[in-house]
């Protein structure tokens, strides 16, 4: 229970000088992020910006090449498996695809963490499960299988499962991706309600601008594995950085100005080699 004491520090997540590699390729370059208690931090970036990698590191699914990650005051690098498992009961994760167990009903999916980590009796577990289903407006769906739900309902069910243990810290991976604007907006409202009602710290990874500006307290903009900016919504909007402005205004990157480099890419590495061989 040492962790509880550490919790007095106001930060739910602290990432210091994180560097990560995938094979020989470096994905994240010296990333520093802090998420304060009770804050909604949106990690934003285009495809390939490294935001999913960063999330997987925060979840402890990958281990970094160098750098420190502290979740709820505990350094992930120094935890024993048992301590890590205990820490995980204090965090919740809603995956992009929902990741609901397809062999179980929605109710069993949501009840699973309670059944595995608590000694509550079935009646109490049933009540708590239905309570969380009410929170995400899915009351009455507990007997359906995940395959019988729509995309928006799966995301909401995944959120219900993520919050069933009343976590102090919630991670959401692309909560509104692939949903129509109305459903996406209802999920944003839900995330805001969760923070306001339960005081959770929430980390949201998304590329959706509308929902970012709606829910974020602070925004971390990732670009090509580097933190481009980490600031409040207003400051990000007012930023003069051309890359951030491009991202906010949905402009594509400027056109390639180097025709030689363009030609080399088109010819491919094999062509470049034969070229060189011919010349020598």
């Amino acid at each position: 229970m040492v962790g509880r004491k550490d919790n007095a520090s106001a930060n739910s997540v602290e990432v210091v000088a994180l560097n990560t590699h995938y094979g020989d390729r470096q994905i994240l370059h010296n990333v520093n992020v802090t998420v304060k208690k009770g804050e909604i931090m949106v990690i934003m970036g285009g495809s390939g910006s490294g935001k999913t990698t960063l999330l997987n590191h925060l979840l402890g699914l990958l281990s970094p090449s160098s750098g420190t990650i502290r979740i709820l005051g505990q350094d992930l690098g120094g935890l024993t498996p048992l301590e890590h498992q205990r820490l995980r009961t204090r965090t919740g994760v809603a995956f992009q695809s929902g990741a609901l167990f397809s062999s179980m009903s929605i109710g069993d999916n949501i009840a699973l963490p309670l059944r595995e980590h608590t000694k509550l009796d079935e009646t109490t577990i049933g009540i708590m499960t239905r309570l969380k289903l009410e929170v995400v407006s899915l009351a009455g769906f507990e007997d359906l299988k995940p395959a019988e739900l729509s995309g928006g309902m799966i995301k909401r069910a995944a959120l219900a499962r993520a919050i069933v243990m009343d976590p102090e810290l919630l991670f959401c991976d692309e909560p509104s991706a692939g949903l129509d604007p109305v459903v996406a907006s209802s999920i944003d409202d839900l995330i805001l309600r969760l923070r306001d009602a339960m005081g959770m710290s929430i980390v949201v990874v998304t590329h959706d601008l509308d929902s970012t500006f709606k829910i974020a307290d602070r925004i971390c903009v990732l670009d090509r594995g580097k933190v481009l900016a980490l600031d409040t919504v207003e400051a990000i909007r007012a930023s003069t950085d051309i890359r951030i402005q491009n991202l906010l205004n949905r402009r594509t990157e400027e056109a390639e100005l180097d025709p030689d480099a363009y030609l080399r890419r088109l010819l491919g590495p094999g062509a470049a080699q034969t070229n060189g061989a011919n010349r020598s």
Binding site: L59, R88, V93, F95, A99, P113, E116, H117
Partner: protein, 268 residues
């Protein structure tokens, strides 16, 4: 220069493959170790291995395979009887056929055929199920919930397999011997009862245990190969298909090779 590059490329690929293969072995060994750990220590850690999933798996692995095991072991019993009588007739010893059939069924054919069948039925199903769970991030979801995927998914399958495969093998022994008797008794002009007495006299406990011990080893092999392949699925539905096929091929190869090594070590 280009040749050197090709050679280095070849060595590079060879090295990477060797490392990948070794890592797979290491993964398999750590799976067995971790499964034992959860079986013994799960209760203390408030993460017990539950009986429900074990029973569910046992029904699927064992009861589900009963019809096909019955049909195939019966067929093999008759086949052995026919071949046995044919070959023993060459030197007029067809009365000794019961010995040959009983020994080869109990010591070899029943465990081998049952193992191969279960590898094809349940080993592949295990690989496919885990593979799909992996690409759906269900395994990640278990991990981040603080639920060990080994305890939750692997141990029930392993225990169920360890219980059901020897049971199925015992059943295959009985069916195989009975079916062989149906052919042998009339051929030798004796009764089924006399054949039964012969078998009981000939087959020692040692022979039964030889077969059952092998089926226990096969159970571990099938589960571990299925889990290793399922857990290493990448690349969507195509990847699941590829790893499922791979798990069947690997499991059957492992069974046959291990069988030979076991017989070599125990019988000589």
């Amino acid at each position: 220069m280009a040749e050197g590059g090709a050679l280095i490329g070849f060595l590079d690929r060879l090295g990477r493959r060797a490392v990948a293969g070794l890592m797979e072995f290491g993964f398999a060994a750590s799976l067995v170790g971790e499964s034992l750990f959860w079986l013994v220590m799960g209760g203390k850690r408030r993460q017990p291995v539950r009986l429900g999933p074990i029973v569910e798996q046992a029904m699927e692995i064992g009861i589900g395979a009963l019809p096909i095991v019955t049909v195939l072991s019966g067929t093999i019993g008759i086949m052995l009887a026919i071949q046995g009588i044919y070959s023993l007739k060459l030197f007029g010893a067809e009365s000794r056929v019961t010995l040959g059939v009983a020994m080869s069924t109990v010591r070899e054919f029943a465990p081998l055929i049952t193992g191969i069948l279960v590898a094809g039925r349940s080993g592949s199903a295990l690989a496919a199920r885990l593979g799909i769970m992996r690409i759906n991030q269900e395994i990640d979801a278990l991990t981040v919930m603080g639920i060990s995927p080994v305890r939750f998914l692997v141990v029930p399958a392993l225990v169920a397999m360890l219980v059901m495969l020897p049971c199925l093998t015992l059943w295959a022994d009985l069916v195989g011997l009975f079916a062989a008797g149906l052919y042998i008794a009339p051929q030798l002009g004796s009764s089924l009862g006399a054949y039964g007495n012969d078998v009981i006299e000939l087959v020692k406990l040692n022979d039964m245990l030889h077969g059952l011990a092998k089926s226990g080893i096969f159970a571990v092999l099938i589960t571990v190969v299925g889990v290793v392949n399922g857990a290493s699925v990448t690349g969507g539905a195509e990847g699941v298909g590829r790893m499922t096929t791979r798990s069947v091929v690997h499991a059957i190869s492992a069974i046959v090779i291990t069988d030979m090594v076991f017989v070599f070590m125990v019988t000589r």
